[in-house]
């Protein structure tokens, strides 16, 4: 307990967190600009007629053309976070707007968006603006060159959780023994220079699978340990650039590379700050000059008001982070098949799931039946995501039910005919075709209307 108390009071140089804030904000700004420039706001949030919401968050919807406003708020707040300008309100706004965007349609769910939300939430409680920020530049009273060590460690911890859990998730028979799904994905990159032909080789698929798992499981520790740090960082760069070359994965590799810098010590970050200052012709001596209030006083003056709540909140946050990915254990049947407890668990690139689902509408009075053309209601992207994920199938079926009831169809039932091929296995029926999906309710309970997987994937 006393150890914990000492740790709680340990101070460290503020530079690493400041640099992290600057780069994180810039990355986020770039992500939003890229998203906007690609026309994805329109394509993903304005064009579709219908959105797949998260259980309990059906009230989070795009707001027509005002959706652009949410993205603008998100971009601006990211910029302000980077500048350290009105930091606290900016990071709160960023967290809220970014998370709102992600909640609008789960079609676009990506682990790395969830990662951004987690980090942004964490940063609300961190003193990231006490150094090298506009807040501290304008008001030297806010300036601190020492901050609690836990605030930097918490970023390291969330990164560590992401990597280690992603690594644990790879310890399964498909990944390690069958080299799936890389055995499907890598040969299709036949036209890469140098790598194209190599990627046709089976040993390469195993090499990629195994080294990927080992990388994920060990990289946080190699980054923590000073003698291996540079080596580890080179690995981080190689790994993430390689994933960028091989897969359409957007900004995520760059975010991870930049985030890994937090493991370096303050000297390194101060040089970065010096470099940026020179570039922007800022007075570096003013940044490094001793704060008016020393860190000890500063801590008591500036952080007292929050620290009572901050540590319990962070403790709760990390407890949830550590436990939440295991919730899949509460569900029967194969996780990859049912995807119950799959999201928000750092399960990255583990599955190649091809699927096909069509819906049969049956009129109970007349016996009349017909199939729905999914393209009438869903974008190709939505249809693809819907076809292989049970919560999507259910929500869509119920949407169809409402649609056809409003059209005057009475006493209808909706059945899904669904086929899924998982990691190179032959396609099999997925949803029980005898079950009327209008009678089922969305919940966290096991979805017993799915058919069994008829195979086992061993491991996590």
């Amino acid at each position: 307990m006393s150890k914990l108390n000492t740790y709680r009071k340990t101070q460290t140089n503020a530079a690493p967190l400041a640099v992290f804030r600057v780069l994180f904000g810039l990355m986020m700004l770039a992500s939003i600009i890229r998203f906007w420039a690609n026309g994805w706001i329109d394509k993903l949030y304005i064009q579709p007629k219908f959105f797949f919401t998260y259980y309990g968050f059906s009230w989070v919807q795009p707001i027509g053309n005002y959706t652009y406003l949410i993205f603008a708020v998100c971009a601006l707040s990211a910029l302000f976070v980077s500048l350290g300008y009105k930091y606290r309100i900016s990071i709160i706004l960023f967290f809220l707007s970014f998370t709102y965007i992600e909640l609008m349609d789960k079609t676009t769910y990506l682990n790395h968006y969830y990662f951004i939300s987690c980090v942004a939430f964490l940063m609300i409680f961190l003193p990231a603006n006490t150094y090298f920020s506009m807040d501290s530049w304008k008001n030297p009273l806010k300036k601190l060159d020492k901050i609690p060590k836990w605030s930097i460690d918490s970023i390291k911890l969330i990164l560590g959780i992401v990597y280690v859990y992603a690594g644990l998730a790879k310890l399964n028979s498909d990944w390690l023994l069958e080299a799936m799904p890389l055995k499907i994905w890598l040969p299709s990159k036949y036209d890469l220079p140098f790598l194209g032909d190599l990627l046709q080789q089976e040993w390469m698929h195993y090499a990629f699978s195994w080294s990927g798992a080992i990388y994920d499981l060990t990289i946080p520790f190699l980054l923590l340990y000073k003698p291996t740090r540079w080596f580890a960082f080179i690995l981080v760069v190689i790994f993430h650039v390689l994933t960028r070359v091989l897969f359409p994965i957007g900004m995520f590799p760059y975010v991870m590379i930049v985030s890994a810098l937090i493991f370096f010590d303050a000297g390194f970050h101060n040089r970065i700050i010096q470099f940026i200052s020179k570039l922007l012709r800022l007075d570096y001596s003013r940044i490094t000059s001793k704060p008016i209030i020393t860190s000890e006083e500063g801590k008591s003056q500036k952080f007292q008001y929050r620290s009572k709540f901050v540590l319990p909140i962070l403790a709760a946050f990390f407890t949830i982070q550590l436990l939440f990915p295991w919730r899949y254990l509460a569900y029967p049947n194969e996780l990859f098949w049912t995807e119950q407890g799959y999201r928000f668990s750092w399960r990255v690139m583990l599955m190649e799931k091809a699927s096909y689902t069509q819906f049969k509408v049956v009129n109970g009075t007349t016996g009349n039946r017909f199939y729905v053309d999914n393209t009438d209601f869903l974008t190709p992207f939505q249809e693809k995501q819907m076809s292989g994920q049970p919560d999507f199938i259910l929500q869509y079926a119920q949407y169809l039910g409402d649609h056809f009831k409003n059209q005057g169809h009475k006493n209808i039932s909706i059945y899904a005919e669904s086929y899924v091929a998982l990691n190179g296995r032959l396609s099999q029926p997925y949803v029980n075709p005898e079950i009327d999906l209008l009678k089922e309710k969305e919940s966290f309970k096991h979805k017993d209307w799915l058919l069994p997987f008829n195979d086992t994937i061993k491991g996590f």
Partner: protein
């Protein structure tokens, strides 16, 4: 330490450059790699271009036989014209799946084969003499289904049909419309063929990129889309009422000819299977194709023999379709269950193609332009 940093930096730059230039070079194929260039060449040179050549010939015969009939409208000339129409309609089944390049640009399938034809509006066009087949709104008033109406649907006997082109008050209007229909089919077919023979073939064959704009990805999507929507749904599912709840005998292909819908379906299944197996249009020899591609990937994966499953399913569907009435309108009214069975067998192959084959080839359906993780 400094050295390491500099090396890292250089390494970083090098990797980023590789990352950014990832799809510029053409790969050198080795025996260990499946040669997509060879597959595209086989597709283009042995299947697509010969099929279009043959089809373009049939459409020019159709065109000249139409002018023969319009200058000399006799029962005999009508029957010759009808035979030529049947030949060309069958020929169309061998090219319809290649909706890529020029064909995609001119919406070839929509211009040539949207059915049912809108008879009432065709009549309105004929009496006004005012129509422009380039307009998207006219797709159900042109192509083979419109010719079907003009050659088979105006009356019950051939003698009566001929009177529309002879003694009818607006015989000129009928003749003009008929001629314009055939001319349009012939000129569109020639346009597509010419585009293939004067450059597009080379572009197509050279486009071995693995991206969504690569020729393999695009044509695979087109092929599956054709099989699912035009063949399975259009020829069988829609008339059988799969999407509407009640049978739609008026929606069969070649509605007015009556005894021709089965032949068209069988031809289309055969052409799809031949393309899957890379079977040369002329010699019947097989070359690099979806089949050999899947077999190559299976040597890596050791999974189910997917190409066999797909080929067997083509056979099952063909057998099921062969047992149908020549006239699908009659079939769906007399015994729709057989039509639905044919639909189910075709549907099995949609799943093999659209789920299993697509997964094996790692091609995304209808390219989704968004990030993954």
């Amino acid at each position: 330490m400094k050295f390491i940093k500099i090396t890292t930096f250089i390494f970083l730059i090098a990797l980023v450059i590789t990352a950014c230039s990832s799809d510029s070079d053409t790969p050198v194929d080795s025996p260990n790699n499946f040669d997509r260039g060879a597959m595209l060449t086989n597709w283009a040179d042995n299947i697509i271009v010969p099929a279009y050549e043959s089809f373009a010939d049939q459409t020019s015969i159709l065109q000249s036989s139409t002018s023969n009939f319009t200058t000399n409208p006799t029962v005999e000339n009508l029957q010759t014209l009808r035979t030529n129409w049947k030949d060309a309609y069958l020929g169309f089944q061998t090219v319809s799946m290649f909706e890529i390049g020029k064909a995609e640009e001119v919406r070839f399938r929509n211009r040539l084969n949207v059915y049912p034809a809108n008879a009432a509006e065709i009549e309105a066009f004929i009496s006004s003499g005012n129509y422009d087949f380039a307009l998207p709104s006219t797709i159900d008033k042109q192509g083979f289904p419109a010719l079907d109406y003009m050659l088979n649907g105006l009356a019950t006997t051939d003698t009566e049909i001929v009177t529309f082109y002879t003694s009818n008050a607006n015989a000129e209007g009928y003749k003009n419309y008929l001629q314009t229909l055939s001319n349009t089919i012939a000129s569109l077919s020639n346009e597509v063929l010419t585009s293939w023979t004067s450059g597009y073939r080379d572009t197509f064959v050279a486009n071995t990129s693995s991206s969504a704009s690569g020729a393999v990805d695009k044509l695979t999507n087109d092929y599956i889309f054709y099989f699912e929507k035009a063949l399975r749904a259009g020829k069988v599912g829609i008339p059988a009422g799969v999407f509407s709840g009640n049978v739609l005998p008026g929606n069969v292909e070649a509605l007015y000819k009556k005894d021709f819908s089965k032949e068209l379906l069988l031809k289309a299944i055969e052409a799809s299977a031949n393309f899957f197996n890379g079977k040369s249009f002329e010699s019947g020899a097989t070359g690099p194709s979806f089949k050999t591609y899947l077999d190559f990937l299976n040597t890596i994966k050791n999974g189910e023999n997917l190409s066999n499953l797909i080929n067997n399913q083509f056979e099952v569907a063909k057998t099921e379709a062969s047992s149908l009435n020549n006239n699908f309108a009659e079939q769906v009214q007399m015994d729709n269950s057989k039509m639905l069975e044919t639909y189910d067998e075709l549907q099995r192959n949609v799943i093999y193609l659209k789920v299993d084959m697509i997964q094996a080839l790692d091609i995304s359906i209808d390219y989704v332009d968004a990030d993954g993780d």
